[in-house]
Structures are given as structure tokens and as C-alpha cells.
Symmetry: C2
Subunit: 261 residues, 2 copies
């Protein structure tokens, strides 16, 4: 097998060249998804480089989300379209996520959702971050009522949701933390006659913070989709529903909105 060889004179670093070779192997099907990758020692021997260089190359592919490594077992090519949920954006955050399923083995291709964290946070009052403050239209660092839920959402996709209630609404409605026991905030708002049908949906993506990464068990090289649902009534913000979804498992679907052509 005439393996491509690396060019030590090239200005392109060795680990990049090796990453390019391996990426092509994956893209062109010579290294199919799910099967074992050549081990680091094998790659060292085949391409005559140090283990450091091999690991850098694999690191590039890990960052691209193409490869996952499993300690002691090997590295594996990830199938980017496997295990995806089509998530209806109109429902995200509106229904309390289901309790987590039983912890199960983590296989490269069939990553199931593991939960090591709380289903619902005990913490019910938090200071707003700058970004939430902006959306909620309150001053930064205001203490507001927060509800948090983690698990599989109504559509089977893992998610972490936080519902931030505007202090004005809390006060006007005389809502207390106890009132929310057993209720998910959007439900409660509907019950109390605050449908909050106005507003907008804001979508961002970022690499997960260590906390989010742990709670949603997001592997390396996988970003998180963040949907912020701003609920308004009479042009005043009532609440913000923040949802984090692991991007390797989530396809967010919005119904057609009127387009500007």
C-alpha cells in the first residue's frame, strides 16, 4: 500500500500534513465511521514522527469533531449525522425536560444522554449575567427567580433549560418560589394569564463551558446551540427561556417565517 509520505521540507507543519492525510482518509471512506483508527504507535511508525506529532494531528481532527478518543480502547471516526434529533424550535424550552434515563455505556456512535447533575437546580434565585441582563432588560447583577431543568426535552433531545423571570412580573403576580413547585415557568405564566406570545428567538453557538460540557456530556470538538426565547407582553419582557443543546445531536427546525426578498 503506497502510503503518502510527509514532506519535512514543506513549510506546512508535519502534524498538519498528517492531519490532512487522515482527514482525507476519513472523507474518502478509507477510514469509515465507527471503526478503530490506527493507533498512535502505528501512526508513529508509519509516518516516522514522534508521538507528540501524531497526537497533535489527531488533536486537530478531534477539534473538528471528526474523531473521538476513548482511553484504553482507541480512537474512532465519528459519524456527524448519527444520532441526531430534529427539534421543533417552537417547542424548545416550553416543556419541562423529562427525567434523565438510566446511565448507560458511552459508545462512540450511539452516545446516549448521561446525567451526572441535578434534574432541577435547588438554586432558585440567581444574579443575571451581562448577556441575560441585556435580554431580560434589567440591570446587570439583578437577583431574579430562576428555574433550571436538565434532561431529555419533549422531543427526546438532551438539553439544559433555564427560565429567568423578570422581577416586575414576579412582584406583580406575587409569585413565590413555592408557587413554582411542580410547575415549569412557561406553564405557570400561561395559567396566570400571561401568554407572552410576543417576543423573539435569539440563536447563538459556542464551545461549552466546563459546566455545560459536563451536564450535557458534550465530547470535545462539539459546540452547543443556545436558544434564548424572549417572552414579551405589551412590549415588556416577561421572561427569558435559555436552552442549551449539544450541536452534534441537534437540528433545530423553525417553521417558515415571512422572508424579505
Amino acid at each position: 500500500m503506497a502510503r503518502p509520505t510527509l514532506d519535512r521540507e514543506s513549510p506546512v507543519p508535519l502534524y498538519q500534513q498528517l492531519a490532512d492525510v487522515l482527514r482525507r482518509d476519513i472523507e474518502e471512506g478509507r477510514l469509515p465511521a465507527g471503526v478503530a483508527f490506527p493507533s498512535e504507535r502505528k501512526l508513529m511508525a508509519r509516518y516516522q514522527v514522534t508521538r507528540t506529532t501524531v497526537r497533535s494531528a489527531i488533536g486537530v481532527l478531534k477539534q473538528e469533531g471528526m474523531v473521538v478518543a476513548e482511553h484504553g480502547a482507541g480512537s474512532f471516526v465519528r459519524d456527524p449525522k448519527a444520532d441526531r434529533h430534529r427539534v421543533d424550535a417552537t417547542r424548545v424550552g416550553m416543556v419541562r425536560p423529562a427525567p434523565p434515563r438510566q446511565e448507560s455505556k458511552d459508545v462512540a456512535l450511539t452516545r446516549s444522554f448521561r446525567l451526572s447533575a441535578i434534574l432541577e437546580s435547588a438554586e432558585r434565585r440567581m444574579k443575571t449575567t451581562p448577556w441575560i441582563s441585556e435580554l431580560l432588560q434589567v440591570e446587570g447583577g439583578t437577583e431574579v427567580l430562576v428555574q433550571e431543568a436538565t434532561g431529555l426535552d419533549s422531543q427526546g433531545a438532551p438539553s439544559l433549560c433555564r427560565a429567568w423571570l423578570h422581577p416586575r412580573v414576579e412582584k406583580e403576580m406575587g409569585l413565590s418560589e413555592e408557587d413554582l413547585d411542580g410547575y415549569w415557568l412557561p406553564d405557570m405564566l400561561a395559567i396566570k394569564g400571561v401568554p407572552a406570545a410576543e417576543g423573539e428567538d435569539v440563536v447563538e453557538a459556542a464551545m461549552p463551558t466546563p459546566n455545560i460540557k459536563r451536564v450535557l456530556s458534550v465530547p470535545d470538538g462539539v459546540p452547543v446551540l443556545q436558544l434564548y426565547r424572549v417572552m414579551k407582553q405589551d412590549d415588556l419582557v416577561v421572561a427569558v427561556i435559555e436552552t442549551h443543546l449539544p450541536a452534534d445531536q441537534t437540528t433545530l427546525v423553525f417553521p417558515r417565517i415571512p422572508l424579505h426578498i
Copy 2:
């Protein structure tokens, strides 16, 4: 200054401990955005570890999108909310991106959009990828008419757009590659009486492929938002408009859609 020290007995690896220390320094404002980070040699001396370990720790923060390194100059804390564009999702992909601006210096905090690639691809006919095939509802590998445009979109955000035309429409309308000269496909469809007001919008996020990373000049640790706008008429797919947006600069805003409560 009583620096926290690393625990060599801990099961938590040194580079992780160091990353945690540095992350906290950033989060709590001791290392403000934009200013120089301690150099790798300084961190080696301060924490009594090898440069490899220091680089691993900084690598963690780079992957999280908290830090950017500039060769020869130093590493810098990134401000996650700086330089963001609020992008109206109803307009994305519907208007041809503007020509690229002059190439300019790349500063950590004010990354401006650089274009090394084509403004509009010469390639006008491509095979569909599996994912595009699914959205376009054609068989995988079908050759279809594709238009590609890169630059700043109508709202000032950098983006890469591809418009994929369904072969049925191409045939029925007798559209040729020349017809598209000077026109952006969605405009052309509107002109030809195919408003394609139906359909749906699909949002995903992923780490950029090397090509996208280069074209949009996305730094390490930054994912890409992908918006696929499926244009339909009478329940048949007319075209798919694919848009890639660097997630560190883009906040995608959807108007309120009817919610399921």
C-alpha cells in the same frame, strides 16, 4: 501575591488544574479581556511545570474560545460579546453578500473580516452532499446548479452562502448558468415568479471544516452557525440556501413564531 499552587498528588491533571486557575482569573476579572496574558515561560516559572503542560492548559482555554494566541506577540483574553452582529434571520441568504473589504490587520478584539478566497465561486455545478440531498429531496450525488458567495452580508456580518437549485426547477424554468450572471438565485426565483414563501429554516452548529475556517477566517475555539433555508412551492423543494456564519460574531434573531404552550 499568594498565587494558588498546583497539587501534584491530585488525580486532576496538572494542565487541567492550571486551566481552571487561569479560567477563574479570567472570569473574575483578574485577567481582563484584551490585555496580554502571562507568557508561557512566565507561567512555567510561576507554577513549576514544563512548557508542554502550560501549553496544554492554554490549549484548553483556546478550545473553549476564551483565549486567542498571536504568534510572536502573546496570548490574549477574548471578549465573547465584542464585535457581534445581530443578524435578522429573515434576511440571511436572501441578499447577495457584499464584496469583501480591504484586508486589514487582525487584532484580537477587533477581528475584522478578511477574505482570501473567491467572492463568487466559478464552480457552478456540484454534486450534492448527503445532507444537502436530504434537504433538497434529490438522490445523493446529483449534480445541481450551485451559486456561491462570500463576504459581508446585507447586515454587515461575514458569511458564506451557497444556493442549491433543484434540478426540476432548473429544467422547468430553462435556467442556465448564464442567466444567473449578476443575479443572486433567490432574486432570480422571485423575478421568475417563484416566490417560494413556504418551507422551513434548519439551524445547526459545528466546528468549521478547514475550508470554511479559512474562508471565514474563523479562529480556533469558534464554531460556525449553519442556516439551511429550504424554499418550497406546492410542497416541492425549489432550492436550498445554505449559510455559514462565524458564531463568535453572530447572534441570529428570529421573529416570534407561534409557540406551543
